[in-house]
Structures are given as C-alpha cells and as structure tokens.
Amino acid sequence: MKNSVKLVAIFGIAVLYMTINIAMIQKPGGPWDIPAKYKTMKSTIKAGDASINTTGKELYNKHCKSCHGAKGLGDGPKAANLKTSTGDFSAKKFQDQSDGEIYYQSFIGRDEMPNFEKKITDEADRWAVIYFMRTMKK
C-alpha cells in the first residue's frame, strides 16, 4: 500500500514538473517596432574594416556570447534562463535585416534584451560588433 502511495506521489511530481517545463518553453520575441531613423541608419565603418575581427569580435564575446552563443545560434549558457528565444544570427531572416535594424535590436534593446549603449560607448565599435554578427551568416 505504501509503495502505491509513493508511486502516485512520484507520478504526480513528474506531471507537475513537465507542466511547469512546458509553461516555461521559450517563445519568439515577436516583431520589433523599430523607429524609422534606425531603419535607415548607416554604418560609420566600412565592410571589411580591420576592427571587425578584433574589436567587434572581442566586444561580442564579452557582451553577447553568454546568451547568443559563440556562433550566434542562441545557445549561450545564459540563454536557457530567458523567457524569450534569442534568435539565430546565422539565419537568413536575421541577416536580411538592414544594418540599422540590427543596430536598434542590439544596442537599444527591449524587455530581456538589455540596452548596451553604456557598455559599448563608441559608435564605430558598435558597428564593428554588427559587422562581426554579419560574419555568422551561413
């Protein structure tokens, strides 16, 4: 009799655990509402600038990698704790966006995506990070 109570309890806990997990599955963040001035924003550095693979890479690794992953796949160690999916920077959907749209999403942010304007203060350094993310295209 005692064993069947234990079994029911274990089964109940398992169902509860699965229910909570399902409730916590990450959801896509939904469309971004990006102001027009950002959509048409132009980079202050040129594609192929030397800073992309030095400064851009270093700043990406310092500020972005823990959630977005080393290759931008959204598999960083902190990503699992987020309610919102971090997206995939290698995907066509991400790469088809304008530089300005990526700038707004990366440095202005919303909700769980923090603002990074005070962490990366130099304009050209921000563009180096964006162009580094462009190198993640499949």
Binding site: T55, N61, K118, T121
Partner: protein
C-alpha cells in the same frame, strides 16, 4: 603623536599634476604638424576601475553604479594547517562606486581591518585617443580613510581628525594594444596619526599591467613600492637605516571580465585593501612566506 603634513601633501599632489599637464602639452605640440584626425577615445586600458586593491584609470560610463567585493585571506605560511590562509583571519571590503560623468567617479566603502571607512574620488584629466594624439590616460585619485577603531588607539590627546588618512595618486595608463596595457602611479600617503616609530608621510610608486590571452581572460600583475625618502622622514638617517623597511605589495593573478562583472583571483603580499594601508604598514614579503590569496568581484548597473 599627531602631526599635520597636509601642506606638504598638497604641494606634492600639485607638483605631480603639473608635471602630468606639462607632458600633455608636449604631446600636443608634437602632433600639431599632422593632419587633423577625428578623435575617438581609446578603449579602456583595464576592464574595471579596480585591479587587486589599486585603482586603474578606467571609469565606467556616466550613471553607472559599480558594487565591489574585495577579499583577502591570511598568509599561506602556515601551510595546510589553516588551508593556506583560507581559514586564517581575513580582510574584506565592500564598496560602491558611482560614475557621475564619463570621467568622474565617486565611491564609498567599508573595510574590516581597523573598521576603516573610505571615501574615494577619481577624475580623468586626460583620455588616451585612438589616433595617439593623447597617448596616455591620466587620472587623479584620492582615497580618504576614516579609522573606526576605539578612541584609545589614537593616544591621550584624542581628536576625531586623528582618524583620517589620505592617499593621493596620479595614475598614468596606456592601452598599447588589445592585448597589453600598463599603468604607472606615483602616490603620496599621509596619516594624521601614526605610531611614533613610523613616518606620517610616504611617497610610493605603483604599477599595474594586463596581458589579455582570450577575449575575456587576462593575466594581471601589480605592485606598490613604498619609498624611503629621508627628506620627508621625521626620523634620523641612522634610525631609518636600522628600522625594518615596509615591504612592497606585489600581486599577480587572473582576471575574467564579462559584460557586467570583473573577477580577480590572485596572489598578493599585503593584507590591507585600501592602498594607504598597504603602503604604510605592509610587512609581508612576497618572496619570503608572505603570500596570500585574494579575490575581487565587481558588478555594474547602468541607469
């Protein structure tokens, strides 16, 4: 017991600032002949405003709050019996720094040893630029400590001002490249009240360096060297020659920096945390059983 040397302190600090400004003018004149370049500030020489117990020229962006936890265990000379100092009495400081401007930071803190309370201010008078028109970042840094020990520590003629001590420093740093940064920092330290066997004033020179070996990890090294200068000593040369010299505080460790944190795990010799404590009182010899383990954690919040 108490002796006021604030005049000498002010003169010393002023002379250092003037010499720094002179260097700046020299640099500026050399560049006048070249084409005008849109100046961009260089990226910070160090990841955090703190390296071991020393200040760096790095000041976080305006309206950023930095919480600091600094911890130093006891010396390792007792070996495994106190787990290499980890079970020995330790020193801890909790601090908060706030960047009012991009080049001005103020801070407060409290330290276990001597129940020391401190107020700090750091101002960057020069910022290294990427064009090298300004090749170095120069900060002035002041730490005012207030000793919270019992009144009788300060002798029979106790006054509240006896509790005050000052550390005035000019910090000159250069980020040579993404991997290597170095800083040099002459300083003047003054204690309003100190044991009669010691001097109230001391000049010191500190250095710190960073070698980054991965995007987030660095080897860090630092040293504070108290100088015995007879001209500012209250004791005779004969006395000083026979007195035990204070030892340099040498630190070497590992730094991990993330978007909001900096972690330091290191070996050091001095157990003080405020720079004036290490320059005035450190008797631990890094090369003779005077090593201890230290760690720092910083956390940033932007507003």
């Amino acid at each position: 017991m108490m002796k006021n040397y604030s005049f000498i302190r002010v003169i010393g600090a002023f002379a250092l600032i003037v010499s720094m400004l002179s260097c700046y003018n020299g640099f500026a004149q050399e560049e006048e002949a070249t084409e005008p370049v849109k100046e961009r500030p260089a990226r910070p020489a160090f990841e955090s405003g703190l390296l071991f117990d020393a200040a760096t020229t790095t000041i976080q962006s305006a309206k950023t709050l930095e919480m600091i936890i600094q911890h130093r265990f006891g010396t390792m000379d007792n070996g495994a019996s106190d787990l290499f100092g980890i079970w020995a009495p330790s020193n801890i400081r909790l601090g908060m720094n706030f960047s009012i401007l991009n080049n001005l930071m103020v801070g407060i803190g409290t330290t276990k040893y001597n129940k020391m309370q401190d107020i700090q201010i750091k101002y960057n008078i020069l910022q290294q630029t990427r064009s090298n028109k300004i090749p170095v970042t120069v900060s002035v840094y002041e730490v005012i400590g207030i000793d919270g020990s019992a009144d009788d520590k300060f002798g029979v003629n106790y006054k509240f001002t006896n509790r005050f001590n000052y550390h005035t420093q000019v910090i000159i740093s250069r980020r040579f490249n993404d991997m290597f940064s170095l800083q040099l920092a002459p300083a003047f330290t003054h204690y309003n009240s100190i044991d009669s066997t010691l001097d109230h004033d001391r000049i010191s020179i500190s250095f710190a360096g960073r070698i980054k070996f991965s995007p987030q990890s660095s080897v860090i090294i630092g040293g504070d060297f108290p100088l015995q200068i007879q001209g500012i000593s209250e004791h005779t040369k004969e006395y000083n020659d026979n007195a035990t010299m204070m030892k340099p505080n040498i630190c070497i460790g590992y730094e991990v920096s993330t978007s909001t944190h900096a972690f330091h795990l290191y070996l050091a010799s001095a157990q003080g945390i405020l720079p004036q404590e290490n320059i005035m009182f450190n008797r631990n010899d890094f090369f003779d059983k005077g090593i201890l383990i230290g760690l720092n954690i910083t956390r940033l919040w932007s507003f």
